[in-house]
């Protein structure tokens, strides 16, 4: 009977993997050796990570984006946030950079994350380099805490090819992408 149960569970695990297999979403999770298994319990509540990574960044040797601010609220009330980096290079698609930690008290079911890129970034490609206007409206998303708690983080994945608009003198960042938990 134990064998049957074991087979069933293995099958379910395999099936679950197959359901998301081959997608960027699961790849992004698996590529992060430093990712916590879940939120870290602290005196200020459970600590979650906000990370940023690029995808479809072929051709970019460097794509540095300035981080302006991160705000996280629950029912309109601000939660504690610690900014971890003020610039990240998202040209490397195999790494999700830590942007901030945010702390969620017990009992909170949903959080609203507002992630503001701000100012000028820079890019480098084989054919030349230039600046990126990242002064655009913030990226905002709402996340159920129980989904965030699965891996303890939210990963904003910028689709670089679709997010950068070539305006001749520079490139404009218009965020396109996905947020995975």
């Amino acid at each position: 009977m134990k064998k049957i149960m074991l087979s069933t569970c293995v099958c379910a695990a395999l099936a679950l993997t197959a359901c998301g297999g081959g997608t960027d979403r699961l790849d992004s999770v698996q590529d992060e050796p430093t990712a916590p298994a879940g939120p870290v319990q602290t005196e200020d509540g459970r600590r979650f990570e906000l990370r940023l990574r690029g995808s479809a960044a072929e051709g970019y040797d460097k794509l540095e984006l300035p981080i302006g601010a991160v705000r996280v609220t629950a029912n309109g009330a601000p939660l504690k946030v610690e900014l971890a980096n003020d610039r990240v290079d998202v040209a490397r698609a195999d790494h999700a950079h830590l942007v901030a930690y945010f702390y969620v008290p017990e009992g909170v079911e949903r959080v609203r994350v507002t992630f503001q890129l701000e100012g000028l970034g820079g890019y480098a490609r084989a054919e030349g380099s230039g600046f990126v206007d990242a002064s655009v409206a913030p990226v905002t998303f709402e996340a159920p805490v129980h989904e965030l708690a699965l891996r303890g983080r939210a990963v904003v994945q910028l689709d670089v090819a679709r997010s950068l608009v070539d305006l001749g003198s520079h490139r404009l960042l218009l965020p396109n992408g996905v947020v995975n938990y």
Binding site: C11, A12, F141, L174
Partner: protein
């Protein structure tokens, strides 16, 4: 046979477990947003119609995905709601598209909408967000608000630019013959070398050397356009809009208000350019363009005022 039965049983159990866990639907959606068919557009003629298109695509290779919500905070307040209303099951290789036409009545209304996206500027960068199980997708497009171009001026008399007067000694001479030119602290221009000096001098450097102060640089830039503007009035009978523009420019030169001085440079330059292709009066002889000769006689009469911008 026994082995085969066992495999079938495991397969059935697997299907039951997977089905019961609710993961038979995947969660791999991306979105695409355009406004009037592009990622970036400029509104410069009002009323302006912005036709937004929102497309949500299932990119999972083998399973349908469920679109749970589809929102755009700025456009929601303008009446947008995604159609078909979520939740929507999107099949493999499938997509759903919703369109919304936003009417913008004026530049001011456009800027007011732009302020709602979380950044007070003249760009509506609203983000379309879709959510699915364990994630969300976002996509952006930019609509830039610009003021309408003023209606073209109907020319009834000619104007000519700084380039015209700086290279035509005869035209500038005729202008000076009609009286001295008062340019406030820059000086009263009476002679041809001084007039050419204003038109050929460096806005960046004093003639005696050294970098002009911000105040003196702005004064110099306004003074040379004002000189040309006065010549356009005198020689061709042209009138700027408002008619007091050149008087206001001279009055501004007498102040140390750099914002005021700076704000008048473009309007005066605009006046000098506005009827540049309109024919000169039939009896007016402009003389040949001789830039080398004109520059050779130019003597910039300005010097360091010792003043600075205030307040």
């Amino acid at each position: 046979m026994r082995m085969m039965l066992k495999q079938q049983w495991v397969a059935a159990a697997c299907a039951a477990v997977v089905g019961g866990s609710g993961v038979a639907n995947a969660h791999d959606l991306i979105c695409e947003k355009t406004v009037n068919g592009a990622s970036v557009v400029v509104a410069d003629d009002y009323p302006y119609t912005a036709n937004y298109s929102f497309r949500v695509e299932n990119v999972h290779p083998t399973l349908p995905s469920v679109l749970l919500t589809a929102t755009d905070d700025v456009l929601s307040s303008e009446g947008f709601s995604f159609v078909p209303a979520p939740p929507v099951i999107i099949p493999v290789n499938g997509s759903v598209t919703s369109n919304f036409a936003l009417q913008i009545g004026s530049y001011e209304e456009c800027v007011a909408l732009a302020a709602q996206d979380g950044l007070a500027d003249n760009h509506i960068d609203n983000t379309f967000r879709v959510t699915f199980d364990l994630g969300s997708a976002m996509c952006s497009a930019r609509l830039t608000c610009e003021r309408e171009e003023p209606p073209p001026v109907e020319c009834t008399s000619a104007t000519r630019t700084l380039d015209f007067f700086s290279t035509r000694i005869l035209s500038l001479t005729q202008c000076l013959a009609l009286g001295a030119l008062n340019l406030g602290p820059i000086g009263t221009i009476v002679t041809l070398p001084a007039a050419e000096g204003i038109l050929w001098g460096s806005p960046a450097m004093y003639p005696a050397g050294g970098v002009r102060s911000q105040l003196d640089r702005l004064r110099f830039l306004l003074a040379r356009q004002t000189l040309v503007g006065v010549c356009n009035q005198r020689l061709f009978g042209s009138t700027p809009t408002p008619p007091s523009l050149l008087t206001a420019a001279v009055a501004a030169l007498n102040t140390t208000d750099c914002d005021l001085i700076s704000s008048l440079i473009d309007p005066v330059d605009g006046f000098n350019n506005q009827c540049d292709s309109y024919p000169l009066p039939a009896n007016f002889i402009p003389g040949p363009a001789t830039p080398h000769a004109a520059q050779a006689i130019a003597v910039d009469p300005t010097s360091n005022s010792g003043q600075s911008c205030s307040p």
